[in-house]
């Protein structure tokens, strides 16, 4: 075991280095900057044999990644917020052309007003772009999931781009102890990418051919099929990863759900705070639990249903707003997942942390108490709770 002090960004860069990526094309943006800064240092110091493409924008960064990925290369990039928004057009092309690119996304609020701090507005705005989405809780998970992401993306039954999302500043800039694996262990775990098709002057192929009313729909249906394979592949990859690291991953992680009557469902770093609060409340005899979503796209419907089957009240945390919708993105997904279940919990949505607004243990305790109250009254006091806002 080798424990190194690293920020989340450094952990992602270190994982990309050990994953022996062939090409990195990226543009720096706070709070992702350290990822590409570290990686360019590896290149300058000769620690990696990666081609590093300096580009003038994120649109060009992802375009260069797509071109490189189509040659059969293992490709990594990273961005955040406005950079991700600028990539939006190319994100659909990366997934439509089935490029297994792995991208670190340092989640950050979107302008206006301009803000550099963490929330999930950036990736939630691109959630239908055909990218697999993983949200991590801390630097260790950022490291572990970046490595696993390459295996999932490059699997022959998947062939989709994967984003590894880490909360801006809370994870990207906080120094933690990260247990890193040996380079040869990762090389053995990942192996070399085996593309189904590649751009090759010796054996030419055409990519990005025009498809009108006659074929476009079928190619979109194929992407749906690829998404249906993700969870199975993830479970297989996670099992193998456990063998080399001792750490267990799957689509979701639960705490206290075996007997919880009131629960919180959330993504990312919030789960750490929520777990600590739940731990304290459980010690007081309160039946509370948490469900953390690691894999947000494809949404793990069956796992979420199973985890929530005995819960009476549920608070779903959203770190972004879906303007004009009844709920935030995550809450809409949970409500959809549960609508076919006869015995389902009373659900309310908690919108929190926008623009990096801090969420304190006392805030989460308040939500647990609201949920516990709902288990007694059977009624939800407020369908949407804006937690920590002044109004």
């Amino acid at each position: 075991m080798t424990i190194i002090g690293m920020t989340g960004d450094e952990a992602v860069a270190h994982a990309a280095k050990q994953s022996k990526v062939d090409i990195v094309a990226a543009y720096p943006i706070t709070p992702q900057t350290i990822i590409v800064e570290r990686f360019s240092k590896y290149v300058a110091d000769g620690e990696v044999h990666t081609g590093y493409v300096c580009v003038e924008s994120e649109h060009s960064a992802l375009s260069a990644c797509i071109g490189s990925s189509l040659t059969g290369a293992r490709v990594f990039t990273a961005t955040s917020s406005q950079g991700l928004a600028l990539m939006h057009e190319m994100m659909y092309i990366a997934s439509g052309l089935r490029c297994p690119i792995v991208m670190g996304v340092a989640n950050r609020a979107l302008s206006a007003p301009i803000n550099i701090h963490g929330d999930h507005s950036d990736m939630m705005g691109s959630r239908d772009s055909g990218w697999v989405q993983i949200y991590v809780e801390n630097a260790q998970e950022a490291y572990d999931w970046t490595i696993q992401a390459f295996r999932i993306a490059e699997d022959k039954d998947v062939q989709l781009p994967v984003s590894v999302n880490l909360d801006g500043f809370i994870i990207t800039h906080c120094m933690e102890g990260v247990d890193v694996l040996g380079g040869n262990v990762i090389a053995e775990f990942l192996k070399t990418r085996k593309p189904l098709f590649k751009l090759d002057p010796e054996k030419p192929v055409t990519v990005g051919a025009l498809c009108f009313t006659d074929y476009y729909f079928e190619f979109k249906r194929q992407q749906v099929e690829a998404f249906s394979h993700v969870q199975g592949v993830l479970d297989r990859v996670a099992k193998e990863f456990k063998g080399v690291s001792g750490r267990s991953y799957s689509a979701i992680e639960t705490y206290g759900m075996e007997d919880a009557e009131a629960a919180v469902l959330c993504l990312g770093s919030t789960a750490g705070t929520a777990r600590e609060v739940a731990h304290t409340l459980r010690a007081q005899g309160k039946k509370v639990g948490i469900v953390k979503i690691w894999l947000y796209r494809p949404f793990p419907v069956d796992e979420v249903k199973a985890a929530l089957k005995n819960v009476k009240a549920l608070a779903v945390f959203d770190k972004s707003i879906s303007f004009g919708a009844q709920y935030g993105a995550v809450c809409s997904d949970v409500v959809s997942a549960l609508h076919t279940v006869d015995k389902r919990p009373r659900i309310f949505n908690v919108i929190f942390g926008l623009g990096g607004r801090d969420i304190k243990p006392s805030d989460i305790e308040h939500v647990f108490n609201e949920a516990l109250e709902t288990t007694k009254t059977g009624a939800v006091k407020q369908e949407t709770l804006f937690l920590g806002v002044r109004e």
């Binding site: 439509g96 052309l97 089935r98 062939q159 189904l196 098709f197 030419p204 192929v205 055409t206 990519v207 990005g208 051919a209 025009l210 498809c211 074929y215 190619f219 194929q222």
Partner: protein, 82 residues
């Protein structure tokens, strides 16, 4: 997958002649074989013969550039009949 075409030169298999609304007709008497139509045709659908040109109707989309460029008015565009 991903609309990838795995074989080079396969556009020959995709005949575009049925896109045509107007059909170029060559008057062999008027044609002087200057080959301006052959140069201008965007679909390489002009076939060179010994003394005149012919049209490859499998790929001609009927754009009419050949008829427009012909200095001898040897190519007339006729409406396609259903």
């Amino acid at each position: 997958m991903a609309a990838t075409v795995t074989e080079p030169g396969s556009s020959l298999k995709y005949k575009t002649g049925d896109w045509r609304a107007f059909k170029p007709m060559v008057d062999k008497e008027k044609c002087v074989n200057c080959l301006l139509c052959w140069i201008y045709c965007p679909d390489s659908a002009i076939i060179r013969q010994e003394k005149w040109v012919e049209i490859n109707y499998d790929y001609c989309k009927g754009c009419g550039i050949c008829a427009h460029e012909c200095p001898k008015q040897a190519i007339k565009m006729e409406e396609e009949q259903k």
